[in-house]
Amino acid sequence: MRVPLERKVLNENDRIAATLRERFHSHGTFCLNLISSPGSGKTSLLERTLEGFDPARRIAVLTGDIQTDNDARRLARFGFPVRQITTGGACHLDARMIERALADWPAEQFEILFVENVGNLVCPTSYDLGEEARAVLLSVTEGEDKPLKYPATFHHADVMVLNKIDLLPYVPFQAAVACENARRIQPEIEILEVSCTTGAGLERWREWLERQMRRSKPISPPKREDAEEHEK
């Protein structure tokens, strides 16, 4: 007997991710999932991002690696709460790992929760972590055709951060070709060019973050005058 089904293979992960997303939404937390190959500069981007924030801001980081807590130690220097998720072999984070990491953390107090995924351009793509937005990093020491070679990752990304642009004079990388390739896969993708070494482009990156954060604020009931305005 053949039983037709429409069951998503990762429906248990998706269920936990939906619960996390609901939790983030209700508290106005902007959760960003950072994905890239190893060595594209996820941790460096987070270092430069954290050092630019007022220490009073409520920012937190979950950082995933197969082994070591090196990234958490690098990021903890900036005084914001950081927690390492060591996957012990798994090449990606999943929603249950995020749920466990947040179990005894006051996640509702965070304005931004950065989730640095395991360095891998394939497997993290399939796993929804409950994030509000997904950023993919590409660096100029890689190939311009990476968006074409890993289309799933770029297709699901909201923003591409092109990192290490200070090296452009020394490498044959053609930034315009890389950007065109990313837009062929995901025409709506935003693209930000940065250098975590010189700081170039980081202001635009921070502006992008602040814009996303404003969008993540919990929806409050309209003020009385707004409601009246609406009725007119």
Partner: protein, 112 residues
């Protein structure tokens, strides 16, 4: 491998809804943009099934192409050569339609 494990969890969960039934074949729908390579997934599935209660479960894969929908002429088209523009009218105003699927589409069951 974790996707293969999730497939088998889904097979077991769906089979358990029908007491006494035994799954003999599972249909999987895999999209071009899912990030899953079907032959690798088949290898992982066969490895995980071997010697378990599910052995000898067979798998069928249905490939789902990468498609976009045109907002101008409303057709859904297959994306070729990474070109997101409409294959019919040429409009660049298109949106994602399909290709990300990773679904258990059917089970063949033997019932007592």
């Amino acid at each position: 491998m974790s996707i293969a494990a999730a497939v088998l969890d889904a097979v077991r969960a769906e089979t358990a809804l029908r007491p006494g039934a035994r799954a003999t074949r599972a249909g999987l729908r895999i999209g071009e943009l899912s990030g899953v390579e079907t032959e690798s997934l088949r290898f992982c599935l066969e490895t995980l099934v071997s010697g378990t209660d599910l052995d000898p479960l067979a798998f069928d894969f249905e490939f789902c192409p990468w498609t976009r929908r045109c907002r101008a002429c409303a057709i859904t088209f297959r994306v070729a050569d990474y070109n997101p523009a409409c294959s019919s009218c040429g409009s660049a105003d298109t949106e994602a339609a399909g290709g990300a699927q990773m679904e258990l589409s059917y089970l063949e069951l033997e019932e007592p």
